[in-house]
Symmetry: C2
Subunit: 268 residues, 2 copies
């Protein structure tokens, strides 16, 4: 069973290794690639090199693009349409771009897909949605070498094109929001010389299991949105007094606005 890669960066390298260890044949090409990539690809014994990416696309049962969001659509339109197998895009593309690709290639040769969790690991989690998601999952699983130390897990979300891309972007929205919040909070703490103790204090309560603590956080926020909104008034006054620029209190300000909205509307 052949898995082809269009382009061969870090993600492709890890993926190819995992698939190879699970018994798949790995195809790619070094046509027009950088010296660095050529050296990397040439150093990997298990790779079967073809002269062009067109050939890679034509020969592959599964064709993978793991490059950059900007190049994703171009690669999909150029090579995705050449494969008789299934084209998978592992770039951070939006649901909209996924649908564009699906419209061009057709759902018989394109499955909405994403890697969730870390790529650098002994375990890979691939999420799939679309008309052929179940078929592709069966196809991958029937070819997996169960004696391999590295595991490839697949999850079919639905038969709906775009569902996996939506999940990926929601995940990105949440994690980036937390990042922005962390940055803002600890920058303010640093200005007060209190960042060391703030880490200690958050350690006391933030190390619970994610799902459990998040669900209880949501519940209590719905329940006491009015009180929390009032408290956020004080929070914002304080944080604004520490920061000169509005941009340094942006997340707190948005959080307050959010709770104002929550307290005034009906329960979701």
């Amino acid at each position: 069973m052949k898995i082809g890669f269009i382009g061969f960066g870090e993600v492709s390298y890890v993926l190819s290794k995992l698939f190879f260890e699970n018994g798949f044949d790995i195809l790619t090409s070094i046509e027009g690639r950088s010296i660095k990539t050529k050296e990397l690809v040439n150093s990997i014994e298990y790779i079967c090199l073809l002269s062009t990416f067109e050939e890679v696309a034509e020969e592959s049962d599964i064709l993978i693009s793991a490059n950059s969001p900007n190049s994703a659509l171009g690669i999909a339109l150029r090579y995705g349409s050449l494969t008789n197998g299934i084209f998978l895009d592992f770039n951070n593309i939006s649901p909209d771009t996924s649908k564009k690709i699906a419209n061009f290639i057709g759902e018989d040769h394109f499955v909405d897909s994403a890697i969730m969790g870390k790529v650098k690991s002994k375990e890979l989690n691939i999420y799939l949605s679309g008309k052929l998601a179940v078929k592709l999952e069966k196809f991958i699983n029937s070819n997996l070498d169960n004696t391999s130390e590295s595991k490839i897990n697949t999850t079919v979300v639905s038969d709906k094109m775009g569902d996996v891309s939506s999940l990926k972007i929601l995940r990105s929205s949440y994690t980036k929001g937390v990042s922005a919040l962390l940055i803002e909070t600890f920058e303010t703490a640093k200005k007060l010389g209190l960042d060391y103790e703030l880490w200690n204090i958050l350690d006391l309560t933030e190390n619970n299991l994610f799902r459990q603590s998040s669900k209880s956080r949501i519940k209590s926020s719905y329940k006491s949105s009015k009180r929390k909104y009032e408290e956020l008034g004080e929070v914002l006054d304080f944080v604004s007094s520490v920061n000169d620029k509005k941009s340094d209190s942006l997340m707190v300000s948005a959080t307050k606005d959010k709770f104002e909205y929550l307290k005034n509307r009906k329960k979701f």
Copy 2:
């Protein structure tokens, strides 16, 4: 050693129990309290009841107010000034209110304090700052019964009035921001019927140790703020297409604004 409580709600009850188990005498009054509170207080054997809260204030080595943010200042001004010991305010008051109380009572009888982490537990974490914070910590520790099953931990942050209130409000800012973010993200996911899978996906990556994962999140956000900002453009387009109201995408919009600001400014 006597610890007095002005008012006696749920928090006071848990605190009094912990302090009693650690060898302290517990004072309070039922003067002018609700029937419910009177019944609660009367049912607790270890409580020493005085006829007025003025007497409680005068008799106590440590006088605790654990009521509501709104009543905090009034109680502090009325009773805090009567004690010869140390007055502690365990309400969610702002650094500003702390300073008002300190100005009125004086730093010889008021220490900035907060309980961090859960109150309902066998372990209590009290943070202290102010001129007498170290002295108070020694005083508490020297009276603790080390054979007790329940533990009272004290941490002195600094000799600066307001530092503990600042920490408390920064903590509140962070946790409420996460709540708002969770609510917004999962409401959008629900509209798409993808909330079940989103929990599964976040479980894959969000269960790491808080400090370690947060620090690496901050580092990577500083490093690739430009890329993340661009990705957030797609995130916002998507989330706005799911939600009718701007208020339903408020946190994402703020996160995007935050990353725009981060990419344009010099490193913090």
